[in-house]
Symmetry: C3
Subunit: 258 residues, 3 copies
């Protein structure tokens, strides 16, 4: 049975997610669907190489990912369906599908917007019907003409400094207040006791949250392979005042401030 996931910023108070599910489940052979996230921030950034939310991480091949974070709904921005790495993605052409579009061999088509589609809710009237067709086995090429100049938000590149340190930035903050950076690091670095500098503060790089005292900051390799800054049993965002874009510098060992 095909799978459809729904990533939106629609929240849990209104019926918007349910309206989209209604479209999927009204089909003769409804796909199995599950809600991925309902309060996804509009500023979501995703790193190349991460098991990103948009590509669904461990999702089975053939899964259809609906990603509707769409403040420009109804405007000239295109509506897309993408085939990428054996999965399908449907959503607005505003960068939310960037990781899928950047993958090798990705193909995108531009969905037609019917005259009866509500200009404020393409999630229900354009994207969900397209997802249902893909889940039913329709080829992505059958849904529209090729889309060539898609909007792609590239995660800032980390860069190596003259002294051997690596400079990057915070690209997302999760529910726990963990600040996720664009630094890809092997477990070796994390276990050897490097140091991350952020907001004028030296944060030890450790393996797990419990390697520091409650309330203390710690940097570690997150589950998506990226270095993140946390505060044990607390919020790094609130405690350290770090947010998206904050500059970070990683050194293999402890050292002076960057």
């Amino acid at each position: 049975m095909p799978l459809v996931t729904l990533l939106t910023d629609f929240g849990t108070a209104d019926g918007y997610v349910a309206e989209m599910k209604g479209v999927l489940l009204s089909r003769a052979r409804p796909p199995r669907s599950w809600t991925s996230a309902t309060t996804c921030p509009r500023t979501t950034s995703r790193a190349r190489g991460s098991r990103s939310r948009a590509t669904g991480g461990a999702s089975p091949r053939g899964t259809v990912h609906l990603a509707v974070v769409d403040p420009g709904v109804g405007s000239a921005r295109a509506a897309l369906a993408v085939e990428s790495d054996g999965r399908f993605l449907v959503g607005p052409d505003n960068g939310v599908l960037s990781p899928a579009l950047l993958a090798a061999g990705a193909r995108a088509v531009r969905l037609a917007v019917g005259a009866r589609a509500a200009p404020t809710f393409h999630g229900r009237d354009v994207f969900a019907p397209a997802a249902a067709r893909l889940a039913a086995g329709d080829a992505v090429d059958s849904l529209g003409d090729p889309a060539d100049d898609c909007v792609v938000r590239r995660t800032p590149e980390a860069r190596r400094l003259a002294d051997g340190a690596v400079e990057g930035c915070v690209i997302a903050v999760d529910r726990f207040g963990n600040a996720i950076t664009n630094l890809v690091a092997g477990a070796a670095v994390a276990q050897r006791g490097g140091t991350l500098w952020c907001a004028g503060r030296e944060v030890p790089v450790r393996r797990i949250y419990a390697d520091v005292e409650p309330g203390a900051p710690v940097a570690l390799v997150g589950s998506n392979g990226l270095i993140e800054i946390a505060v044990r049993d607390g919020s790094a965002a609130a405690r350290l005042g770090v947010g998206r874009g904050a500059r970070v510098v990683l050194r293999a060992g402890a050292g002076p401030a960057a």
Copy 2:
């Protein structure tokens, strides 16, 4: 396979929604179920003619909608099952089922409350079992005696003013801070550049959010066919200070304050 949706104000921190799903899924032939909303406000108002949350909008015929927003649980208020427009609805007789009850041909029965039902959680012990029976094919008449004087919350009627303008009010605010009114408007009005007056402010009527600058207010026809007031990339409720009950006046073209 029958469908059951769950609309509640139970939130995502406690097990209340899961307890209701447990009742549904313990059946020999469990229905497919999905959560519609979990933080539905108690003051929810619904407009006649809208694709309302309670009636499930685009839900397939035969779908059972569980709507448990029930601060009066255990009191003398009745427990209802309703058949309306080919769907079934189950919930308290406190107005939450109004759109379904107002539909032509709607039939309601009063559910029995067993002696062992927890007086504080009819969702689990009265409504979910009734929904399971309806999903299994039992007729609504088999669930109880006809209920005649059901509580119906009527959405205030919009009215035409002497000068041709239409006066209405805000009936709901969604997660984005969009203020949804009781004004039903064809797309023609929206595209022709009418004006909505609200809270002493003139708000242009446009087709989509992106028709105004970021941070600017805009009125448009929402996905349920009702005119709503939004602020692009912001919250109309917070920015304009409008909430439920706020008076609005719609004019076909720009004009003086109402």
Copy 3:
């Protein structure tokens, strides 16, 4: 079809819950799964004898409950699978599985943590795979060696005072601000007009919320069989300032302060 529930504190903004579901649904014969709670507090306490969240309440026999509230992830704390009362539970050995572990005949095994498991996300890499195996019919004994000294958080015992009153405490606060105590009370007590003393205040014991005026405090027997303190149409936690650990004294009739 086997059932898997997910109880986490992962929230609705990130993809963590979806990553766990991806693991479950990637199986050849994916279980039916549903999300129990996504913002479960870390301090959750559960009472003996209650239809607790961890044991799933009315869940069908054979259901697998994933309970991942795991601030110590990656540390020396064990990863557990438990068979209890015909259900299975999977989660960290930090007390979150207490009600299941305390049940008569419960058996626990210690799950192996593979070298490739992300040290910050055992939910995806250890617990979800174990849950998938249990849902597919694998015996709990096949998942690891017996775990003997599991962490159990015992709910404080209520105790009878010299004057016949019963003393207990608040063990949880739910989304509505209802303060749930460890006092187990028959409906008879609730209906006969007892009194609960809490935070220097006398709270009448009644059957339902509607037995008091809007805004007034009331104590009643909650749907899990425990006495809880509520404020009608309001929050007892906010209004009365009661939280976890607050002392309460129940008297069969009205009387002087404890």
